[in-house]
């Protein structure tokens, strides 16, 4: 009867197992770091958008400068994003109830517009903001085109023209 030949030398087995498990652990740790960076970038993006909206509400900038303000507000976190992918889509807020009421006054148009600017001198803006996160090496393998972030916000400001 033939028995399998006993492996003679088991030296290095522990080292080989350590290398295998260590590389897996390293991969896991790197993934954790990358996801942390991803969520940190997402939070900083949300903060930057809010900051820009607050600047608008305070009359410190016009809606045309919104994208630039978001980019500046990102500060040191700009390195996570690609500025060319930053898109801002402004639209009217669904509110402005009072202004809608005055808009439905028919032929009195110019006069009503003048009255409106005195009586309801506030205006609003809603934005949808998109940007792509430049994924770090491990995630970039999965998300080769970057990870898109999107947020929506709206605010009213008074006086309408500042």
């Amino acid at each position: 009867m033939n028995f399998p030949k006993k492996i003679g030398n088991q030296r290095g087995q522990a080292m080989a197992e350590l290398l295998l498990s260590f590389s897996l652990l390293l991969l896991l740790a790197a993934g954790m770091v990358q996801f942390t960076l991803l969520f940190s970038a997402k939070t900083s993006f949300e903060q930057a958008c809010g900051q820009a909206a607050r600047h608008f509400a305070a009359g410190q900038m016009q809606t045309a400068d919104f994208a630039q303000d978001v980019w500046v507000s990102l500060g040191s976190n700009q390195r996570f994003f690609d500025q060319t992918t930053l898109q801002v889509s402004p639209s009217a807020t669904s509110s402005l109830v009072g202004q809608s009421f005055l808009d439905n006054t028919g032929p009195l148009g110019p006069f009503i517009a003048k009255v409106k600017s005195v009586l309801l001198n506030y205006s609003g803006q809603k934005w949808v903001i998109r940007i792509e996160y430049k994924a770090a090496p491990i995630l970039s393998g999965i998300f080769s085109k970057g990870i898109p972030f999107q947020t929506e916000l709206a605010v009213l400001k008074y006086p309408a023209q500042d």
Binding site: G50, S95, L119
Partner: protein
């Protein structure tokens, strides 16, 4: 993911509060404008009365009361003697729309229907001038305004005298105390204690003195009281025997509180999809408050800078006030809050 959602929830509450504040600020400018119009109408009334001096009728009969039209408009517009007014309701409705635009939970029914009721539990919750209105009243849209009455001109007489700024110096050897008035002292840049002043001239020149309050002698207090009583008696006589007459004379619209307090607070929920939660989502609560600062509401403040809205940091003690606020509001809503259909039918407050 929740951290990012929390950031969005706080931001949404902040932007909704700022938006409500913007509409509120516009309303305060409207108050100035209507006060200016009121002043113009009051002048017209005075001119008509002055022109009719030769007639036999009394002033009340010749007074055209043009100003009453403006005052009644102000009353309905700003809700001065009603639980709420048209403009406070506009703030409320604009706030709701902005809450929806910012993805906050909005379960209020659309405005306009006569069967409109407060949802239970309501979200978002807006509190108007919470610090001075108290919880039940702050839930009803209001702008913390009132009509100024002619009595306003007499209030200075009734106010307790403010402690006069008097400075004292106590001699360490004898214990004798010397008093100095504001004019007798000057700023001492190198004083040991903050608020200390230095005597300008005389025997005690250069000596440091400290501020003393309530140093009036009994004789001084008695003299002042007698003076006040005499003045008040004269005013009462002029007014025809009662100060209540002055209370009945409405002037312009002014701040309800002294010092003025105009705040708008948003307590909101933001829904976050969470896979581990039983129903697949959870609500994050966020609270934000703004205050409005400005120079005043009188007609002559019409060209003053517009009211400015600014976010107020919310302290831990305020958060404690709002624990279970939705439950409290739901209790108020089901028991005491008037519905829109009967809100404007309520009799004016006495």
């Amino acid at each position: 993911m929740v951290y990012s959602a929390k950031e969005r929830a706080v931001r949404a509450a902040d932007l909704t509060a700022l938006s409500g504040g913007a509409v509120y600020g516009n309303g305060l400018q409207l108050v100035r404008l209507t006060n200016a119009i009121l002043l113009g109408f009051a002048v017209v009334d005075l001119v008509v009365i002055a022109a009719s001096r030769g007639l036999t009728e009394g002033i009340t009969q010749v007074d055209p009361h043009f100003r009453d039209i403006v005052q009644k408009t102000q009353d309905v517009l700003f809700g001065l003697s009603y639980p709420t007014g048209a403009y406070p309701f506009l703030i409320f409705s604009e706030g709701l729309s902005l809450a929806s635009d910012n993805q906050l939970v909005n379960n209020w029914p659309s405005l306009g229907g006569l069967s409109w009721r407060v949802p239970i539990p309501p979200s978002p919750i807006f509190l108007f001038n919470f610090e001075t209105s108290g919880l039940p009243n702050a839930l009803i849209p209001n702008m913390a305004l009132k009509f100024r009455t002619a009595n306003f001109f007499l209030t200075d007489i009734n106010k307790p005298a403010q402690p006069k700024n008097r400075y004292h110096l106590k001699q360490s050897k004898t214990g004798e105390v010397f008093h100095f008035t504001q004019d007798e002292v000057e700023i001492a840049p190198n004083s040991k204690n903050p608020g200390q002043m230095r005597v300008k001239a005389g025997d005690f020149k250069g000596k440091y003195v400290s501020l003393a309050k309530d140093v009036e002698t009994e004789v001084e207090k008695d003299a002042e009281k007698k003076l006040k009583d005499n003045t008040l008696m004269k005013v009462k006589t002029i007014a025809g025997g009662g100060l209540d007459l002055f209370n009945g004379i409405k002037l312009d619209v002014t701040d309800r509180d002294d010092p003025p307090d105009h705040t708008f607070l948003v307590y909101s929920s933001y829904t976050v999809p969470v896979k581990s939660a039983g129903n697949g989502s959870t609500d994050l609560q966020a609270m934000s408050e703004v205050s409005l600062e400005g120079d005043g509401l009188a007609a002559w403040d019409l060209n003053a800078p517009p009211y400015r809205t600014q976010l107020i940091p919310i302290g831990a003690e305020k958060i404690a006030d709002f624990v279970n606020i939705q439950a409290k509001v739901a209790a108020f809503a089901s028991s005491g809050l008037p519905s829109v259909s009967n809100m404007f039918d309520m009799a004016p407050k006495p």
